[in-house]
């Protein structure tokens, strides 16, 4: 029943001309191949729409600032100074963008495979826990600890996501629902581990006295993520990792055979089944991969930003990363751009506070940008329809 509905909408979304020759599944396959290939659209139109709506989103935020008595010029300039103004602020933007991009890249994989895993927030938390176990319980040089922590984080995040995948393919539980529930379990698991008798608990200073706060020890200095100096900017290694991951995933989805099968599974599960793609196997793999990327983001947060586990360690990175992937229409390249915008907003917000403007305006601007970014495809589709209608009228 469920698959029938989705197949229905998938076909309806792409009213391509009837495929020449072939019937039934063959025709649908031909149709599918066509739609997979015809993704290329006029690029300038897209870029213009992107920039236009970016400006629109930004102006909504500025309007709110203006309405409450803060000059838009001040807001803009401090946002710019804080995010792009100096090499330090650029590095800060990239640091903030790195975990977001990792989460988004993972989300792109599972969304393309048609597996709607929205539990990245929990998988990030599990990643941070996994990295924490390595960092706080394994002795060794940083060159050993850091890769080990990333491995543990990816495995922990991947396994957590697998729970949702197993429930889906084993018991038919909707993955949206199960992955969402797992987010809250992860949250409680983290707090249990870092408080009281938990194995990641720190006995050091707490607000109410030694050992009372729910927190882990601090990450030792040699396990902190290093940065690489590129053209005078201290580029955090996590960002380079995330960028490489994004490029690899984009290449994997576009140009490899498994990536192609993954996209077919996402576009039309019925066709995928007919041509011998095992939805349980490929689907679970995609979900596990997305969890692993989110887990790696958890390691990045612990080893590169917070240096300590606190309740809410993932600080909504999972939600934001998911948002980026979806707002980018599950496109890895656009995700990079959006992650940079998000990172710049976080970094720029840091400076806004100093100007007496409440930092939270950054959230408003970012959310307005996301909503605004969702509109261009709708607009472009309307434009295209109009153009086709004109062409038909002329003919």
């Amino acid at each position: 029943m469920n698959t029938r509905v989705s197949e229905d909408t998938a076909v309806r979304e792409h009213p391509a001309p009837p495929a020449p020759g072939g019937r039934g599944v063959d025709a649908v396959v031909a149709n599918l191949v066509d739609t997979l290939r015809s993704k290329a659209r006029p690029a300038t139109e897209q870029v213009l729409a992107f920039l236009g709506f970016l400006a629109l989103g930004l102006s909504v935020g500025l309007l709110l600032g203006w309405a409450t008595g803060h000059s838009p010029a001040v807001i803009l300039s401090s946002l710019y100074e804080g995010s792009l103004g100096s090499s330090v602020s650029i590095a800060y933007s990239l640091t903030a963008a790195a975990p977001l991009l990792l989460v988004a890249v993972g989300a792109v994989i599972c969304m393309r495979a048609g597996q709607f895993n929205i539990g990245q927030e929990g998988q990030v938390t599990l990643g941070a826990i996994g990295a924490g176990f390595v960092v706080f319980h394994v002795d060794g040089p940083g060159s050993l600890i850091i890769p080990l922590a990333f491995l543990a984080a990816a495995v922990a995040g991947g396994l957590w996501a697998m729970v949702a995948a197993v429930l889906k393919f084993g018991r038919g539980v909707d993955i949206v629902v199960s992955s969402l529930l797992l987010v809250f379990l992860a949250e409680q698991l983290l707090v249990a581990l870092i408080s009281g008798d938990g194995p990641l608990h720190d006995d050091g200073e707490g607000v109410l006295g030694a050992g009372t706060a729910s927190q882990s020890p601090r990450v030792p200095a040699d396990a902190m993520l290093p940065s690489v100096n590129v053209l005078g900017v201290e580029v955090p290694s996590a960002f380079i990792l995330a960028l490489v991951a994004a490029v690899l995933v984009a290449w994997f989805l576009k140009s490899t055979h498994p990536g192609y099968r993954l996209r077919i599974l996402g576009q039309n599960p019925v066709v995928a089944g007919t041509i011998g793609i095992s939805a349980p196997r490929l689907g679970s793999l995609a979900v596990a991969a997305s969890g692993a990327f989110a887990g790696a983001a958890g390691a990045v947060i612990l080893l590169g930003q917070s240096f300590q586990l606190n309740p809410g360690a993932s600080s909504a990175i999972g939600w934001s990363g998911l948002l980026i992937a979806l707002a980018a229409r599950t496109n890895a390249g656009v995700s990079v751009l959006l992650a940079l915008v998000f990172g710049a907003m976080v970094a720029g917000g840091g400076l806004l506070g100093g100007e007496g403007v409440p930092v939270d305006i950054v959230n408003v601007i970012t959310a307005a940008i996301v909503v605004a970014l969702l509109c261009p495809p709708v607009l472009l589709a309307a434009l295209r329809r109009r153009r086709i209608r004109r062409a038909v009228e002329v003919a």
Partner: protein
């Protein structure tokens, strides 16, 4: 200490925590049955909590606060409905973005305003409030709480009308609904608006009637708990009410158990409802009454 007193303590702690979940949960139930996986319920609650606090503090009247809260919930629902059921944008993106937007707007406005909220007073239901154990917990509450009863009755009644059937139909099979002449997206928008209204009451209860204050991000994930409760309740009215109570009691126990001298890991308590929900889903599997087209956009063919 007697068992009765312990029970009374637990109930007294649980009921105020259950009320906002129930209001929002009933709304979310309707929205989900109509096919919207509404993540923005968190934003609806937070926005309405702030609007209610603002309205009540500006006019000195909790009633005006409640109305402001309902308006704010409606506003979020209006935006969500039009973006996802008119422009066909992905409902998850819209929901997450709206949550972020509302969090930003409320925090921003909170730092530029000073709130002085008049608290809604408690109503004592005659006779019933004298009942042992449950009397104080259930029948000495702010008047808003008693709105739950007519709300449940309303939903129960509407389920038996043509409107209720249509609302469920657009959640289960939008294609067939469209063919029979139901305006699928309009029905979905209406369900969302109803959800906004209910969440608005829940949010207003949080800030004006329960705590008498508004703090940054005060819903603290209650919206997501509500979604979990609708899932746990198996998308059935009585299930959702029961699930909200389970989540509320789990929260209440975290407060009440230390007070009556037990120590149970608060994390375990908080995690139990989610675990129960996951287990019940795993047992039910595909047999659960999940609306078949939950979260799927519908574009009518013209």
């Amino acid at each position: 200490m007697s068992v009765a007193m312990d029970l009374e303590t637990i109930l007294a702690a649980s009921v105020p925590l259950t009320v906002p979940l129930l209001f929002a949960g009933l709304g979310e139930y309707v929205a989900q049955r109509a096919g919207t996986f509404n993540l923005s319920v968190e934003g609806m609650m937070l926005g309405s909590a702030f609007a209610a606090a603002y309205g009540a503090s500006a006019t000195g009247s909790p009633v005006v606060g409640l109305l402001c809260g309902m308006l704010a919930g409606l506003a979020v629902a209006f935006v969500h409905g039009n973006l996802s059921h008119r422009l066909q944008l992905n409902t998850y993106v819209v929901g997450l973005a709206l949550n972020m937007l509302v969090l930003g707007v409320t925090n921003y406005l909170l730092s530029t305003t000073v709130l002085d909220i008049p608290r809604g007073s408690a109503w004592q239901v005659p006779l019933l409030s004298d009942l042992p154990i449950i009397g104080k917990a259930f029948f000495v509450q702010p008047w808003v709480v008693y709105l739950i009863a007519p709300l449940v009755l309303l939903i129960w009644y509407v389920r038996r009308t043509r409107l209720g059937l249509e609302l469920r139909a657009v959640g289960d099979d939008p294609g067939a609904s469209d063919l029979t002449g139901i305006n699928v997206n309009a029905r979905r928008r209406q369900a969302l608006l109803f959800c906004g209204l209910c969440s608005g009451v829940g949010g207003a209860y949080l800030s004006v009637f329960q705590s008498g204050s508004f703090t940054s991000g005060m819903t603290a994930g209650r919206g997501y708990i509500v979604i979990a409760a609708v899932i746990f309740g198996g998308w059935m009215l009585r299930g959702v009410i029961g699930a909200c109570a389970v989540f509320g009691v789990a929260q209440g126990l975290q407060l009440a158990l230390p007070a009556i001298g037990y120590s149970v890991s608060p994390q375990l308590l908080a995690a139990t409802p989610y675990l129960l929900a996951l287990c019940s889903l795993a047992v039910l599997g595909a047999r659960s009454k999940r609306p078949l087209a939950l979260g799927m956009p519908f574009a009518p063919v013209r």
